[in-house]
């Protein structure tokens, strides 16, 4: 069954272009592997770094397995509290990916809604929405995230800070990403809006809502898919940056960025692995998503079609 599905996929134009692109194959394998490990972190990770029972300060600062003093138990070494680096990275990437996906979905819903309605309805509404996105774009995404984070922290009870961190981050990153979606969907909607099948729908008398949802939206999914992929890696990086700056995830529940921040303190005292491995992991994750997005942009572009 699965073989048949894969065969069918490879027979389509996109599947063919996928099978011809080494970059796409490698990056999708890496991305899927990371997704898989972080999804089943409980099973795959050797330890649960958040379980106080598994932490022993005796093992703190164990170097990776191949250096002098390394231990078979801790392949990538341990941090200052004796937590296994590999396990913390797997759990950290889980958090990073959840935040990345959730915030991009949030941005997509807001951005696509505003973009399609602005593009299709036009008029004063369009002007207001598009100026709003322009204003939003002038605020650097990190600054925006810091702002939302700061405001949210002011409202939320202190004892809840750590639990609410994930929602605050999703909101913050989502707000800074939606203008991209709004711009691209508006541009795509303007193209589709003047195509004759939309005019035919208007002549029949279909309502604006039906035309937008049933006719225009399915036809602009391609560019949305492409920018969501590229936006995903951006969201993950923004999350890491925020955590690195100390406004993201707390040390008790570290994401990749939090791990890099801690390791940073020990970088010059010789314990390089505490920051190096999370950082490399983040780079590989973001790079694989970006390369996948690049391939997708080319493959889904009818003008650059590979025969």
């Amino acid at each position: 069954m699965i073989r048949q599905i894969i065969k069918n996929f490879l027979d389509t134009d996109i599947g063919y272009s996928f099978s011809k692109s080494k970059v796409a194959i490698v990056s999708s394998i890496i991305f899927l592997a990371i997704m898989f490990t972080s999804l089943f972190a409980v099973v795959i990770a050797p330890y649960n770094p958040f379980d106080p029972k598994s932490i022993s300060l005796m093992d703190a600062f164990t170097p990776p397995i191949w250096s002098i003093g390394g231990s078979v138990e801790f392949i990538l070494g341990t941090d200052q509290q004796g937590r296994d680096m590999l396990s913390t990275i797997i759990y950290g990437s889980q958090i990073s990916l959840i935040v990345g996906f959730a915030s991009i979905i949030f941005a997509m819903i807001v951005g696509v809604f505003l973009g399609v309605t602005a593009g299709y309805l036009g008029g004063r509404y369009e002007i207001i929405v598009m100026r709003l996105t322009d204003v939003q774009l002038t605020i650097p995404s990190i600054l925006m995230a810091l702002l939302v984070d700061g405001i949210a922290r002011g409202f939320i009870n202190k004892s809840l800070h750590d639990d609410m961190a994930i929602y605050v981050l999703i909101l913050a990153i989502g707000i800074s990403e939606w203008p991209q979606f709004a711009r691209i969907t508006r541009a795509a909607t303007l193209v589709e809006k003047n195509k004759e099948y939309v005019l035919a729908g208007r002549i029949i008398g279909l309502s604006d809502l039906v035309i937008m949802v049933k006719h225009i939206l399915p036809n602009i999914l391609r560019p949305i898919l492409v920018i969501s992929t590229i936006g995903l890696s951006q969201a993950i990086i923004t999350e890491s940056t925020l955590s690195f700056l100390g406004v993201g995830f707390p040390p008790t529940n570290p994401s990749l960025g939090t791990l890099i921040r801690f390791g940073n303190n020990f970088l010059f005292s010789g314990e390089w692995w505490i920051t190096f491995f999370p950082a490399i992991f983040l780079v590989v994750l973001a790079l694989s998503i970006n390369l996948l997005g690049d391939w997708m942009r080319d493959a889904l572009n009818p003008k650059l079609k590979v025969r």
Binding site: Y197, L199, A200, G205, L206, N219
Partner: protein, 565 residues
């Protein structure tokens, strides 16, 4: 010695799934001072052959066999030689004058650059030469216009500049790929005349690629008819057009709408050469019963009264001065009677499509009134009534590739309007309705489960017609419904429209720039020029006895296949 000799040319396009033979065993000769036309339907390989001569075949196409000799020099797969010849010995005219000139350079820069690349004239000599060229191709006031940018020229003038560029290095061979397809009839006429004159004056060999049999008849000495990459007929133009031998060529000639008479319907040939009485319409009793055939009343259906439309794109900085605004339509009035087919003809930019959009309610006019059976379509108080009426006016569009939603199955496309007007229709009845419609337009019921991209342009246009008929309209607006189609397909679609009109007593509002097509389709015609109506009259009296000066010009300039038959 033959000037251009093409021998056994094979060109293949290797794609993932199949190998397409864009040209198979193509051989012909071209002499100086001679114009050869290559004609064929889309996908017949006519452009590929032309591109092969200058080695500009798009990947993954390649020449697999054969030879191209220009003055005994082999050009086939010989990029080094071709590079010295392309532009110098061979000039090329492209279809679209909008994109074949660089918009960032003046005409002067482009001419002088081309001349200096291929000859060793100095700047002043090259400038003098450019002036001479512009005068030769008929651009008035060349001293002034040579410093203009391409966008400052009109479409026809720009094509003249392209021709000047093509002949700037004294080429011996001129290849023109659909040189007049993007142009209006009157400009086409002048460009063709210019090409003919240049051919004789300069002893050029000219290769014209076109799909328009009228152009072929007007200008060429010999013609090559291509189909699926093969030459099916080749010879003197008048002979090929008047006594075609091959079945393909016969059916091509039969499908061309005649300009001098009105025929009842187009005839077709079966693949073995017998004439088919085309029965595209098999209206079952069931459909006719469903349709509630209206009796021929001949009463006024649509009243288009004193409509003016001003496009005022820039709303924030809108000019107070009325003179600055673009008047797309000015005081246009006409009526359409029930059961007739009313034609609207005009050149590009004359406001034809604007009228269609106003009637169908897509845009509102600035001034004027429209009555559909005494119901004002513009009165906001009639909003509810108009909504009910909406299904009665339907439209077929020009571009078959964008008029169907690519994400919808054919069944969904056709059933959407039915469902919209009868909200609680049961599935059995809906299926029956959809099947009836797909039968009417002559497409198999199996296609209902497919997506639009699996169909050809003509089939898509039939599906568009089925969708338009789904609401049982009384008025069908056809905005250039066949201008994107090949002649044989055009003939089939026109036949279908005629049948529909007769059997269902539809009223058709037919918009086209193509005079012969209008003549075949319409009872009455309005001629539109720059947003004003010049003349409205019965078709035959317009064609036989035009009153208006502009109408006379149009009729004189349209390419006529009959001139040589």
């Amino acid at each position: 010695m033959t000037f251009l000799k093409i021998d056994n040319l094979d060109i293949e396009y290797q794609t993932r799934k199949e190998t397409i033979n864009a040209s198979k065993n193509v051989s012909f000769n071209l002499e100086r001072g001679e114009i050869i036309g290559i004609v064929g339907e889309s996908g017949s390989g006519k452009s590929t052959v032309a591109n092969a001569i200058i080695n500009l075949i798009d990947k993954p196409g390649k020449i697999t066999n054969g030879s191209i000799l220009l003055d005994e020099i082999e050009l086939c797969n010989n990029e080094e030689v071709i590079r010295t010849i392309r532009g110098k010995k061979i000039g090329f005219i492209f279809q679209d004058p909008q994109t074949s000139l660089n918009p960032l350079f003046t005409i002067k820069d482009q001419l002088i650059e081309t001349i200096q690349t291929h000859t060793d004239l100095n700047y002043n000599k090259a400038f003098e030469k450019s002036m001479k060229l512009l005068t030769e191709v008929g651009i008035e006031n060349p001293e002034k216009r040579i410093n203009d940018y391409p966008h400052q020229f009109s479409g026809g003038m720009r094509q003249r500049v392209v021709i000047a560029l093509a002949i700037s290095c004294e080429p011996d061979l001129l290849i023109a790929d659909e040189p007049t397809t993007a142009l209006d009839v009157s400009i086409q006429f002048k460009i063709l005349k210019l090409l003919k004159k240049l051919t004789l004056d300069r002893k050029l060999g000219v290769l014209i690629i076109t799909h328009d049999m009228g152009v072929i008849a007007e200008i060429t000495d010999k013609v090559i008819v291509m189909r699926y990459g093969k030459i099916v007929e080749h010879g003197e133009t008048y002979k090929v057009l008047s006594q075609p031998v091959s079945i393909e060529c016969k059916s091509l000639v039969m499908s061309v709408p005649p300009t001098n008479k009105k025929i009842d319907r187009f005839k077709f040939l079966s693949p073995d050469g017998n004439q088919i009485i085309d029965t595209s319409l098999k209206l079952t009793n069931n459909i006719i019963k469903n349709w509630e055939i209206r009796e021929k009343s001949k009463k006024k259906l649509l009243d288009f009264l004193n409509i003016t439309k001003i496009f005022d794109e820039n709303k924030i900085l809108s000019s107070k001065n009325d003179e600055d605004k673009i008047k797309a339509l000015e005081n246009v009035s006409f009526n359409i009677f029930e059961g007739e087919s009313f034609g609207l003809v005009g050149e590009s930019g004359s406001g034809k499509s604007t009228i269609a959009k106003i009637i169908s309610g897509l845009i509102n006019p600035t001034k004027g009134e429209i009555y559909f059976e005494n119901l004002s379509l513009l009165d906001p108080r009639n909003k509810l009534k108009i909504k009910k009426f909406k299904g009665q006016i339907q439209m077929i569009f020009q571009d078959p590739y964008s008029s169907l939603n690519p994400r919808f199955k054919i069944k969904e496309i056709i059933s959407e309007p039915i469902k919209f007007f009868r909200k609680n229709i049961d599935n059995y009845f809906l299926d029956q309705n959809v099947n009836d419609l797909i039968d009417i337009v002559g497409i198999s019921r199996k296609s209902l489960e497919r997506f639009p991209h699996e169909f050809s342009g003509g089939q898509r246009q039939r599906i568009s017609i089925a969708r338009a008929l789904a609401t049982k309209p009384r008025l069908l607006i056809c905005d250039e419904p066949t201008s994107a189609l090949d002649v044989t397909i055009q003939a089939q679609v026109l036949n279908l429209l005629k049948d529909l009109q007769e059997q269902l007593n539809l009223t058709i509002f037919f918009i086209s720039h193509d005079l012969p097509v209008i003549r075949q389709m319409c009872n009455r015609i309005a001629v539109l020029k720059k947003g004003r109506i010049c003349e409205i009259n019965q078709t035959e009296s317009i064609f036989n006895n035009p009153k208006n000066l502009y109408t006379k010009e149009l009729l004189r300039m349209m390419p006529k296949i009959e001139t040589i038959i």
